[in-house]
């Protein structure tokens, strides 16, 4: 069930939420819409679901135009950031809602709901009310509710945004496995690049209502199309026109012709990773990411003079290999 968005624009008053956006989510894929807040990613998801009407442009779900189809008839499963649980219904009734609307038999509803509760690991919770569940459990219930009607596509709007870090981590892995199991075309909105890279097989990076780049996680990380993508998808140092990832900054004790001199300002142990803040001899500042073995080997201390080589860097328009930044 491929989802195609063609030349969609949407304004809220003077604010341009979507500016002529065209994008595709291939059948069976798990696509992440990634971007900072206000980039239009949630609006795009809501336009696909039919919860928002685009000012112009078209929406197709498996080659069928759905632009004018109301949300009620669009056959999408939608999961909200704050769960949108029906508070006055228990877990069973929540999950059964869509099936009841479709007038399925009691026996069928019972069977399907218990299958789904097992799938989302909530068997035994059927009689609880949402208020008696944790955030993670509520979101899994919301997911089961969305899946109950066997939607053609599954749309998730910051589904883990309201959960604490540990539960979020757990649910990401769980969602990825679930997706492999049920293979429904899924679009996930998130502002967290790590979440997008971990869960999705395709990332659509958005900014100011436009798409900056589309590609796999590795693609976006290794070949960012522009400064914004490079900065959003991972940490970056900027030296003049040159952009370099902190793990591509090599520190050594001796000068060898490809290095430049720098002073250690500060360093932070973060377990496996050590973050080293440096000032180059020309006054520019950058930080390097090294392993704790490297840090130990270098005998880092504040004020120590070291030599820095830029391994792999980017100047947008061209890629530079192994050269020193010219400022």
């Amino acid at each position: 069930m491929t989802i195609t968005v063609r030349e969609v624009s949407k304004r809220f008053g003077n604010f341009v939420a979507l500016d002529d956006v065209s994008v595709e989510a291939p059948a069976g894929s798990l696509t992440a819409l990634l971007g900072p807040s206000g980039s239009g990613k949630s609006t795009l998801l809501r336009v696909i679901a039919g919860l928002e009407k685009p000012d112009s442009g078209k929406i197709f779900i498996s080659d069928e135009e759905k632009t004018q189809t109301p949300a009620q008839k669009r056959g999408v499963g939608f999961v909200f950031q704050h769960y949108a649980a029906f508070k006055h219904m228990n877990v069973f009734e929540n999950v059964a809602f869509g099936l009841k609307i479709r007038k399925r038999s009691k026996a069928e509803i019972r069977k399907r709901v218990s299958e789904l509760l097992e799938l989302v690991q909530l068997d035994g919770f059927a009689n609880r009310y949402p208020a008696q569940l944790s955030g993670g459990q509520r979101q899994r219930m919301a997911l089961a509710r969305a899946l109950a009607v066997q939607p053609e596509v599954l749309l998730l709007d910051e589904p883990f945004g309201a959960l604490d870090a540990r539960v979020r981590q757990e649910l990401r892995g769980w969602l990825k496995r679930l997706h492999e199991e049920i293979e429904v075309t899924t679009i996930l909105v998130t502002h967290d690049q790590e979440e997008a890279m971990e869960v999705a097989d395709r990332i659509v990076l958005m900014n100011h209502g436009k798409i900056e780049q589309v590609g796999g996680p590795q693609d976006l990380y290794e070949n960012p199309a522009n400064e914004f993508v490079m900065g959003f998808i991972g940490p970056v140092n900027r030296l003049g026109d040159t952009f370099v990832r902190p793990h591509d900054v090599e520190i050594q004790l001796h000068e060898d012709g490809t290095t430049s001199e720098a002073t250690v300002d500060h360093f932070v142990y973060l377990g496996f990773e050590v973050r080293v803040e440096l000032t180059l001899s020309d006054g520019q500042q950058l930080w390097a990411q090294v392993t704790r073995e490297e840090a130990w080997h270098l005998g880092l201390e504040r004020g120590k003079t070291v030599h820095v080589r830029i391994g792999h860097s980017k100047v947008f328009g061209q890629s530079v290999e192994g050269s020193l930044p010219q400022s």
Binding site: A71, Q72, G77, A85, F86, G98, Y129
Partner: protein, 263 residues
Amino acid sequence: MIARLTLRTLALSYLALLLVFPVGVVFVRTFAEGVGPVWEAITRPDALHALWLTLLVAAIAVAGNTIFGVICAIVLVRHDFRGKALLNAVLDLPLAVSPVVVGLALLVVYGRTSLVGGWLAEAGIRVIFSAPGIILATIFVSLPFVVREVVPVLREIGTEQEQAATTLGASAFQTFRLVTLPAIRSGVAYGVVLTTARAIGEFGAVSIISGKLAGRTETLTIYVEDRFLHFDLVGCYTASVILALIAVMTLLLTNLFKPREEY
């Protein structure tokens, strides 16, 4: 500690002196000469008619104002349009305007000599000094309560549950019936309690528009006044106690509709 005790004493004695004591005295006085006279007072035709009229008027006013109140609250919270602030202000009019003025206004609009009143009279509908007028007056004075109770609840539940229902295939009406209505139930219930209390207790507007015709246009509150003016204290107290009991019963009934374990 002393400060807390003082506060508590103040609050409780205020309630006791101004609320519990007078109502309690009425109860005691009612049954001062036993149950016999009370029963006699209740079963008088005029009393029974007043009771019946009060219940009828309250039932119509509560039903009308509940339906209107919920619709109006949805319009106020979920829609955006010009004149919304005006609508919001107009809704409080019945609380701001004295009931006597309401009665007078209705008298002017629906009186025989007025355009509307004359036209209705020709059609054979009598508003003034009859049940329709009493119902109109009661609806007017008890109008804002359901709206005012439902608006904050509606605002608090937000639109996400409704949107979720829509994506699951529910029509607008199904969404309202299965999701919105149960979510605002507590607000509606409290609004109904207040509307009922106001409807059965209304005196000022009704006393002007009803003409106070014994056995025909007397509601219970008017009947209480009538008995009082006729030095029939047992009848007066009995009617008062019935008024109080109706209010208490409404409270108990709506408690049954309070949300289950949800919050």
